[in-house]
């Protein structure tokens, strides 16, 4: 009997532990109610976790399900979509973009003016404050730029590629600041659409993850690791007051689980809605974003070294059928270039290679490669939407054209090894090219320049054009240079151009929101009905 008692009491203990843990979680769900209702006098006790807003903003509360939890909430350290989805609402940048991608002023009052080839001057907006009350001024911009330069030097940021031309910043007066670059840098305005401004005090800290503090329309309220992050509208925001008062982010990795939560009313917005699930979502929103899957063809070596073979590989693909079948119609054939229409340098005169399987066959035969083996490498982890189905479709088209396709789809890590192996190029590598800054420079550097991980050519002329495009300070001149560059890349068929798949979002019945070409989730642009 004694032993049985012990077993029983052990079970009871287990039960208590479980229910105690459950109780904890009950407490946290109760924090879903709108916060920031404390009077300003109360805010002194937890200055780092609650905004110093006075009255609560009237408005709805929404829940957004992201595909992954931010790996950090510091706005400068990681390159992470989850981090951006949240910090884009907390922090602001000197410049912003319209939903269509046009560069507009934000914390600056106008687009910058050139002082000399390497100095840009920004006039700053007055009357802007950070959530902790610190005024926004030239000192904050200088401190932010210097923090980024320091992080790059100390190998403390993943974002060196965005900012490696910055050399410093100087405050001219309270609301005027000059930013300098190592050489003429036409990309600088676009970089300032990306660099989030922090306070001078925060700029001195190593990691800002625990207490985000920006000038944006939403202030950080609290975070429960692994579970949720909550933001509330900042009453002191300089712009129009948003209609959503409170937003909670949840992190849901599995697409099926995200959709189930949307359908059950748990979430108001989910990202990466699979095309085949659109009909199941209460509402779906789609936009032609920046996602551009391509097949990199090795122009230096192997059977793909022949430009006619590369052209044949393009002609062999039925782009429209791929858009319709692989992406359920939520994609459009790409017009033969890397840059999407919303980006400077997009060449309107280029059209997609037509689908012409007969000519493809003929070109391959003339090149003497019919029946030969071509290696096509994709990946199998589902890193990009339906990427495996995509490479399988391509493999079957190329097989039809008369090649023996060796299709390899290793898991993502092993795939990266193939992609990064610049010295021993596979014939054809799938990758999905994207463009964060909405500026052509980095994308073309990555995919056309010798040193770029995604390039498979050694065309000096093209490389020069890409370099010139970056250093040109005149937008029209840059556009002309890049148009010429993408024309060469098209003529040389360095890639098999495919389709551009749309960004798809699932929305609850009550949500009203139009997605943006830069795929930013700005809560101030969202509203709910009822």
């Amino acid at each position: 009997m004694r032993t049985r008692h012990r077993l029983l009491s052990a079970l009871v203990v287990l039960g208590v532990v479980a229910s105690a843990c459950g109780g904890d979680d009950d407490d946290t769900t109760s924090t879903d109610t709108p916060p920031a209702t404390e009077a300003p006098t109360d805010s002194g006790e937890t200055p780092t976790t609650s905004p110093t807003t006075s009255p609560a903003i009237e408005g709805a509360s929404i829940t957004i399900a992201l595909g992954s939890e931010p790996t950090s909430l510091d706005p400068h350290i990681v390159d992470d979509g989850g981090e951006r989805a949240i910090n884009d609402n907390i922090y602001e940048t000197l410049l912003a973009r319209t939903p269509d991608g046009e560069l507009i002023p934000s914390l600056a009052t106008d687009l910058p003016t050139l002082i000399d080839d390497t100095t840009w001057e920004f006039t700053l907006r007055e009357g802007v404050t950070f959530h902790d009350g610190t005024p926004f001024n030239a000192d904050a911009v200088v401190a932010t730029v210097e923090r980024m330069i320091g992080l790059i030097a100390a190998e403390g940021t993943d974002n060196a590629g965005f900012y490696d031309t910055l050399t410093g910043a100087t405050a001219i007066d309270e609301h005027t600041v000059q930013i300098t670059t190592s050489g003429p840098d036409g990309v600088l305005p676009a970089r300032m659409y990306w660099l989030k401004i922090v306070t001078p005090a925060d700029a001195a800290k190593d990691d800002l993850s625990s207490a985000p503090n920006g000038t944006g329309p939403y202030a950080f309220v609290e975070r429960e690791t692994g579970v949720a992050i909550e933001l509330a509208a900042y009453a002191g925001y300089w712009g129009d007051a948003p209609s959503i008062a409170d937003v909670t982010y949840r992190f849901v990795t599995e697409g099926g689980t995200r959709l189930a939560g949307l359908k059950s009313g748990q979430y108001d917005l989910i990202t990466n809605l699979p095309p085949n699930d659109v009909a199941q979502a209460p509402q779906a929103a789609a936009i032609q974003g920046q996602e551009n899957p391509i097949i990199i063809l090795d122009a230096d070596d192997g059977i793909t070294a022949d430009v006619n073979v590369r052209k044949a590989l393009n002609l062999a693909l039925d782009k429209q059928a791929i858009a319709d079948v692989v992406y359920a119609g939520y994609a459009v054939p790409v017009d033969g270039q890397l840059l999407s229409p919303s980006i400077l340098g997009h060449n309107d005169d280029i059209n997609a290679y037509p689908y012409d399987p007969e000519q493809a066959k003929q070109l391959l035969e003339e090149a003497g490669v019919a029946g030969e083996t071509i290696t096509l490498v994709g990946e199998s982890s589902g890193r990009w939407l339906n990427d495996r189905e995509l490479v399988e479709a391509i493999a079957s088209y190329w097989t039809e054209a008369g090649l023996n396709v060796d299709l390899q789809t290793p898991e993502f890590g092993a795939y990266l090894d193939v992609l990064f192996d610049r010295s021993n190029r596979a014939d054809a590598i799938f990758v999905s090219s994207s463009n964060d800054l909405l500026d052509p420079s980095r994308q073309l550097n990555t995919y056309y320049s010798l040193s770029g991980v995604g390039s498979s050519n050694s065309n000096a002329e093209l490389q020069q054009l890409v370099a010139d495009g970056q250093s040109s300070l005149d937008a029209d001149e840059r556009a002309t240079i890049y148009q010429e560059a993408v024309q060469i890349a098209y003529d040389e068929a360095y890639f098999a151009f495919l389709v551009s798949n749309q960004d798809l979002y699932g929305l609850s019945e009550r949500m009203e929101w139009t997605p943006r070409v830069d795929s930013k989730l700005l809560v101030k642009e969202m509203s709910v009905n009822g």
């Binding site: 287990l14 974002n159 692994g226 990266l416």
Partner: protein, 306 residues
């Protein structure tokens, strides 16, 4: 018994150390966290610079020395995925939710499997027995992600009884059922066969002859003797739940526990986090095994712990 536990703990330390070293070597030989840290567009030079800064280009022996030095100070390094956070801290952030899930799931498995097994053993081969045995087989052979989605579609999407993801105790119901069902099947089968053996044994016949009530024979004598194989399997189920099944269940139900974190760490080749997770799980496995041994002793005082 104290000396025995002391010895087992020392053996456990050796196992934990061995496992940790093994994981160190394997991750270093086959992985590269930098691949996953920097954006796809980073240049080869930028990747190399990061590897240098992280000490990943140092000779393996030198890296191992540093690892041991930090380990004895209780430092398992900083996670490369959850940036800037000590790996152990990440583990302890996510572990409680896994323990909660495993505790509720296993409790459920115990509460269901014992009566099911006992009922099935009353008339071996009878209709009840056959129905229960078939159900057990279905339970233990159902893939957990499939079971998970079926439960979710029925109870979350259609009926809207439960939410997924972390939240109140109610949110634990579906994932614990999903975690428990296969275990219920296996455990019930063990209870059934052990009970059949016991009920056919000499002492039960004597007890019956003595006129003891059926409840007393079943509840006190037979069940207690059936306890040894049961506890053995239960320990194994708990270990498998902590070190395996929660990976699937937590992903499907968006339950941010250690299993979910483990798959994230592996996907991102986060050496430090993988090491910390393996270390903590190894500690738990050693402790569970010791607990099982102690349970033997409690169930049957004749068992010598040596």
């Amino acid at each position: 018994m104290g000396r025995y536990i002391g010895r087992r703990l020392i053996q456990g330390l050796v196992v934990i150390f061995g496992v940790t070293v093994f994981v160190f070597v394997v991750t270093r030989l086959i992985g590269d966290p930098v691949k996953f840290m920097l954006p796809l567009s980073a240049t080869p030079e930028q990747r190399e610079a990061r590897r240098d800064a992280m000490g990943l280009n140092d000779p393996l022996v030198q890296q191992f020395g540093r690892f041991l030095r930090d380990l004895v100070q209780g430092d398992l390094g900083e996670s490369s995925y959850v940036r800037g956070t000590p790996a152990l801290e990440v583990v302890f952030d996510y572990l409680p939710r896994t323990l909660q899930l495993v505790a509720v799931g296993m409790l459920l498995a115990i509460v269901l499997s014992i009566p099911l097994g006992v009922i099935a053993s009353r008339k071996p081969g009878g209709t009840t027995d056959r129905v229960l045995t078939t159900l057990s087989l279905i339970g233990l052979s159902m893939p957990q992600f499939f079971l998970g989605y079926v439960l979710m579609i029925a109870f979350t999407v259609r009926l809207r009884w439960f939410e997924t993801g972390p939240g109140g105790f109610m949110n634990l119901v579906l994932p614990s059922i999903c975690l428990a069902l296969p275990a219920v099947g296996r455990l019930a089968v063990v209870v059934r066969s052990a009970m059949i053996d016991e009920l056919n044994s000499q002492y039960v016949k004597v007890a019956k002859a003595k006129g003891l009530t059926r409840r007393r024979i079943l509840g006190v004598h037979a069940l207690r003797n059936a306890g040894i194989p049961y506890v053995t399997l239960l320990g194994w189920e708990v270990i498998r739940a902590i070190a395996g099944y929660t990976v699937v269940v937590e992903s499907v139900f968006n339950w941010p526990g250690l299993g979910f974190m483990a798959s994230t760490a592996v996907k991102n080749q986060d050496f430090y986090l993988i090491q910390a997770i393996v270390f903590v799980v190894a500690v738990m496995v050693v402790l569970i095994n010791i607990a099982v041994d102690i349970a033997y002793k409690l169930l049957d005082p004749r068992v010598k712990l040596s």
